[in-house]
Point group: C2
């Protein structure tokens, strides 16, 4: 659990894309960010107030989040002075970089001396149980994809926001580094030891109110041979009541696997649903989310309409068309 709100550290970001994590926090949890900290030469801008460390503390910020990545996921020497000052000013630090905060002797020493926390969200900080498969109260929705990186996190976050706007009870449940930094907690599933994967997802989505939805962030794909085991643990540990199918129509092969074609949405529906019903026989597929960023406006609308007619399920690009129709479908479950 990372203390909020944050000051977003953009460092010396060479371009806006390098600040993807900060952008995710800005887009999805603006209340979590009181301001941004930029060094000389920073080319990213979250359109938040630029603050010194002292100003951010005065505004209530509790954690400095490294919202930027450089090549290799390293903690740049240029950042060190700011990070050490932040610890001394009373900030905790949080990072999703491969290079762990706790592996930097100077940061570790100052954090210990000042009693501050170093949150490395790439590595689990919890001893997860082995899954017991027991039925939990409350409802759960999981986005599964024909491939990796087709918009599963975006879909869950957009639906969560729409549900909150309608006054529905909902929590986005993060299972990856960016999602964990956005919300302040979650399970870094790809770093969990095999035997405890499904148990970590049961732990993440415990008993809840009967009308509460956990919107679980998906990972990988049942059809991606490198990561399918991780996806399977989500399908069974998450015990979903509802599945959303996610797809990027212009992909010519599975991400990182040139020899592998994408499955059809029908294949994803049939296999995903059959496997999900092992853990929850009542599970249904409620909608389809298309990542149409490589398509024009008319082409995207036409594609979604055709898929909707073919599959008999609401089909939208939540970025273009909003998540309302997907939430309508969920509300009807």
């Amino acid at each position: 659990m990372i203390d909020t709100p944050y000051l977003l550290f953009l460092g010396d970001a060479p371009d806006p894309l390098a600040a993807k994590v900060a952008q995710g926090i800005r887009d999805w949890r603006p209340d979590n960010a009181v301001g941004q900290f930029r060094m000389a030469g920073c080319l990213a801008d979250m359109k938040l107030p630029d603050m010194s460390l002292a100003e951010a503390r005065a505004a209530g910020a509790k954690t400095l989040v490294i919202g930027v990545a450089n090549r290799g996921g390293l903690i740049s020497p240029a950042w060190k002075k700011v990070l050490i000052e932040a610890l001394e000013e009373g900030f905790d630090l949080a990072s999703g970089l491969h290079n762990l905060l706790r592996e930097e002797p100077d940061l570790k020493a100052v954090a210990e001396a000042t009693g501050r926390q170093l949150h490395d969200v790439r590595v689990p900080s919890v001893k997860y149980p082995i899954a017991n498969g027991e039925k939990r109260t409350g409802k759960r929705c999981l986005a599964i994809g024909t491939d990796c990186s087709v918009g599963k996190m975006y879909t869950a976050l957009a639906m969560d926001l729409e549900m909150k706007a309608r006054g529905m009870k909902s929590n986005f449940r993060a299972t990856g580094q960016t999602g964990i930094l956005i919300t302040g907690n979650g399970v870094p599933l790809d770093a969990v030891v095999a035997d405890f994967m499904a148990g970590s997802i049961e732990w993440l989505t415990p008993d809840n109110d009967a009308d509460h939805w956990d919107m679980i962030e998906g990972q990988g794909s049942l059809f991606h041979v490198s990561y399918s085991g991780v996806t399977m643990a989500l399908v069974h540990g998450g015990q979903p009541d509802a599945l959303i199918l996610c797809h990027e129509p212009t992909r010519t092969h599975m991400r990182g696997l040139p020899g592998y074609k994408l499955p059809s949405l029908e294949d994803l529906r049939d296999i995903g649903l059959r496997l999900a019903q092992v853990a929850n026989p009542a599970c249904t597929v409620v909608g389809i989310s298309i990542n149409s960023q490589q398509m024009g406006e008319a082409e995207a609308a036409d594609y979604c309409a055709k898929v909707e007619a073919r599959m008999g399920l609401p089909c939208v690009d939540p970025f273009r068309h909003g998540a309302a129709r997907l939430v309508d479908a969920l509300a009807a479950v």
Copy 2:
């Protein structure tokens, strides 16, 4: 890689069942064991020569394998004197216990002083890659089960032995602690970090002769919600050409999951094959292995005959009937 042959340490085993690991080595790799070491009160007997440490060294033994488990998987204080003497006599030590050899300060100190190895096969000793899904030469067979603990390891070992007897090229590829100790190497898959599961199985079953079979030890079940992610990594990382379906007909629910019924063999065939064909479109289901230990002789024969007629695949209990018909089916692939 654990140096063979072994001296099997049976310690003060309170009953034969406690020496399950030693029994596995004795049954499947008798050439790997030159003798057994028993302490006062030991109630297990592998029918191997009882040897002192010096006698076993003279007979060529290189590693003392802890072939016994006590309650809690602990390294008993009563064993320590023997284990330390073994290191001093020039033995490496190997163990699959939860309590790691390397976590015992006295063993660690003596091993360092004598230059001997401590093999804790519960934890990975290799930095595995992320799976790349590239097609490998040679052939691979994987046993998948309707549940955990239905005889997948036994089936693969029995087929491997039959194939060797026929002069076929074959390797049993261990993915669990007992299998690793039996063969001297393998991947402790349940302890591998999620992102590297499938890659560890690619690493375990590399390119080989076109007529060589890797007989991959199965784990868990696609239908067991606690461990299905591990099984999925085997199905995709193993890239099997052939699947064997394993089943225990008297099981009333999934192991450890009272609320979960077992899937049918038809379900296992359909889902298992569809998922395996993602990694290897040529994969086929070649036979069925029944664990009939809870049935009488006639009942078992009748059950296998009925399943064979229903499924159109050779169906045997390899323990009762031998693995010959399963190997015939594999040889025809």
